[in-house]
Amino acid sequence: MKKILVIFGGRSVEHDVSIVTAINSVIKPLRLTKKYQVEPLYISKTGQWYWHEALADIETYTSGKINSLLKKLKPISLKFDQGLVLSTGGSISSRKLLIDVVFPAMHGTYGEDGDLMGLLEMANVAYVGCDMPASAIAMNKVLAKQLAVANGISTSNFLFYKNINYKENGQKIINEINTKLNWPLFVKPAHLGSSIGISRVNNNQELENALELAFHYDDLVIVEEEVANLIEVTLPIIGNDVPEPAYLERPMLQQADFFDFDTKYLRGQKKGSKSSLGASEGYSQVPADLPAKLYKSAETLALEVFKLFNLSGIARVDLLIDSKKSIVYFNEINPMPGSLYSHNFQKFGLSNVDLVERLIFFALEKYEQKNKLNSSFSTNYLKQF
């Protein structure tokens, strides 16, 4: 029985979203297969790593028991002995476990952005999802747009700024934005997902507030033009060399609104709506009701992005469409979509159980391919010293 380690939580503003993704969309379905030994590894908000069965129970978090549990538990240590080994320390009741596959159910910083993948690469263990370089570029909205533009893929016009520069030349930056971009604008932290820290602005006062908010979360901020006659769509994709798309999904929003964190994950509804549908599922149209040609263009562009960025395992590509001109723009990439976007795959005909099994398969496939490559090279270089 293969041992799967599901890592979640972490030092990220999307910590709580990660818990739900891990427990509901990864651990439960993997366990239902009866094929794997599934182990939960929780990273606290302060960065300690814990390994305990109670961490796989959502009630541990919803009831607040997590705080007392963490006080009782000792953080684990990792060893890279012929792979990734979990170890609970040197006491009599110590446990060790050699992991076959890691499932990083992490969102945002120190998890989805490539940091964790670097560690897993060092351990030479198979893991689900995009590798370190792909994750790092995908989670940097600036780098991602620059790479897209360099490869002839359309994006909305954008500028980007570092916090230190804004502090020194705030007014100059405001002026530059006014000169080079057309209102309305979106201001976003460059590395965060789940719509955290994002604002839509119509004037300088709103822009200043939005920049301040975005810099609160990130050192790098991107400011981009809003696409006119907007239809926003997203495409979850799985696979390695041969990407397999699910349905193009369209959030049901109006141009005047956008989806902040609460809307996406708490209400599942457009901002201000009183009804309460389930998180991330109640507000979207799957498949997106677009003219066939436009649907195909959007799907093709998303698949092109998946290949260009060398994404693997799973990712979600977000696109913006000018519905009057039928132009599709690349917006951003989410290398570990919340809840794996399993609701979309289910409608496409792939159950959550089958989805996680496919992702394990892709992880092992990628791992095998990587290990076939030669990583040593004999030279006489050292002899000259």
Partner: protein, 479 residues
């Protein structure tokens, strides 16, 4: 071992005992068998939970109170021992405290039996005598629906169709014992044209008891299959119990499904027989079943008519056809009958269709016999789906033939070839697996050791265009 021992001394123990009594339907034999087999009392309530009723709460409080009282007495005796007022009090007191989990599960049963003899039985007799009088003097006709399976659906379908032209009263839900009918009798107005009653049977003599109480004019026997084999000695005895209705109803007013196990039983020729092909001279043909329902043609030399119902499954047609013919004989017009048949639909947990994340789920968890299993498996052969998933824990109360029946069940499942078979781990699992292997089942087999977890997470197991058929239930008191 230690966990098992500790389970006797948890705060949940009194509630676990109350739950075991409740889940055994306060049947002393079933309760004692369960009690003797239980090792860890913390695990008795895996499939279902303690249901709060006036009686069950009273029982729970009585058990918990009794246990606390025993502990208190033990403590007092220990104190008396330490203060030299009771020689050896420490040991006697400790023994009294430690023994409460052993004493109360049996003591409460004795108290229930005493209460039954002194209070419940005399009270019930008054209610039953009153009810018999109501049924006996009621001007309407009484139709009894009995059989090993399908009787609740038959009763409901019949009531729906007859209601199109008659005043009909029908016994509620699946309540089918003497006391429930007695309570139902008190609600009758006396203005009903027809009263449709479901007769439950669990042991020899049950049918006769109900017939004596309710004085039926007609009887419909829906079928015969092995059930309650822990009480009936054989399928023959079970058949005799059903056929004992002949003593109370004119054989020409009895309608019997002659398919399945009745084929091997000698039947009085005066009894009307029906089956999948024909019903009282009418031929059944052109059956089509899909997720929207079932349509069929009913014809004799004089007429041919088409009907459509919302219920799914070919096996339902013979029952609907019988209702059509009986309804015509009782004076309903063709239009009234067609309208009634169109209204018939599945009832909760009986081939009940629902949608879950784009998958179609058929809940047939109230099925409890091999004939129902065959009907369900035939149905999934008929229905179109991207993936077909069959879920079952197996059948309870199959007596000495348990292994054979589950082996046969495994073969039927293999023949229907669903893509995935999910079995709930219990004493029948190996026999089903053997049957699957013998008929070279090639799909995916999952054995689930936590049924509740599986059912609760079914939504993540399925996807659009899947078909899931869930048959049978496995109460906690079965291993």
């Amino acid at each position: 071992m230690i966990k098992n021992l500790f389970s006797l001394y948890t705060y949940r123990y009194p509630k676990n005992i109350a739950y075991m009594l409740q889940a055994s339907e306060y049947d002393a034999r079933n309760y004692l068998i369960w009690l003797s087999k239980t090792k860890n009392f913390n695990l008795v309530s895996r499939r279902k939970q303690f249901i709060k009723t006036k009686f069950s709460i009273l029982l729970y409080r009585f058990i918990a109170g009794g246990m606390l009282l025993q502990i208190l007495i033990g403590l007092i005796i220990i104190i008396l021992g330490f203060t030299n007022h009771f020689v050896g009090g420490q040991y006697y007191g400790l023994a009294i405290i430690l023994s409460y989990p052993v004493i109360w599960p049996y003591l409460i049963l004795i108290l229930i039996l005493v209460a039954k003899i002194l209070i419940i039985n005399p009270r019930d007799k008054i209610i039953l005598d009153k009810a018999e009088n109501i049924f006996k003097n009621h001007p309407g006709k009484i139709i009894a629906v009995l059989g090993s399976y399908g009787k609740t659906s038959m009763k409901e379908y019949l009531a729906i169709v007859l209601s199109e032209g008659k005043k009909v009263a029908v016994s509620p839900d699946n309540k089918n014992v003497a006391l429930s009918h007695a309570r139902f009798a008190q609600k009758l107005t006396g203005l009903e044209d027809y009263i449709v009653l479901e007769y439950g049977e669990g042991k020899n003599g049950d049918i006769a008891k109900l017939a004596k109480l309710t004085h039926p004019d007609f009887a419909i026997i829906t079928g015969l299959a092995p059930v309650h084999q822990n009480h009936y000695k054989s399928i023959k005895q079970q058949a005799d119990d059903l056929l004992s209705i002949e003593k109370y109803v004119d054989p020409t007013n009895i309608y019997l499904n002659s398919d399945t196990y009745f084929k091997d039983i000698k039947i009085n020729k005066e009894i009307n027989q029906f089956n999948d092909q024909s019903v009282l001279g009418f031929k059944i043909s052109n059956i089509l079943t899909d997720y929207s329902g079932t349509s069929f043609e009913l014809s004799n030399k004089k007429q041919t008519n088409n009907f459509k119902s919302k219920v799914i499954g070919r096996h339902q047609v013979k029952y609907l056809a019988l209702i059509i013919v009986i309804s015509e004989q009782l004076g309903l017009t063709l239009n009234q009958i067609k309208k009634g048949i169109a209204k018939t639909k599945a009832f909760p947990h009986r081939m009940e269709l629902s949608e879950l994340n784009g998958a179609m789920v058929i809940d047939d968890s109230y099925n409890g016999n091999i004939e129902g299993i065959k009907a369900g498996l035939n149905l999934i052969k008929d229905l179109k789906a991207k993936r077909k998933i069959y879920v079952t824990p197996g059948l309870v109360d199959q007596g000495k033939k348990t292994k054979d029946i589950h082996l046969e069940m495994g073969r039927y499942i293999a023949a229907a070839s669903p893509d995935i078979v999910v079995l709930m781990q219990n004493s029948t699992t190996e026999s089903i697996k053997k049957g699957l292997a013998e008929d070279n089942y090639a799909g995916q087999l999952i054995v689930e050791d936590n049924p509740l977890d599986f059912y609760n997470n079914l939504s993540i197991f399925v996807a659009k265009d899947d078909l899931v058929l869930m048959q049978n239930d496995w109460p906690d008191n079965y291993k």
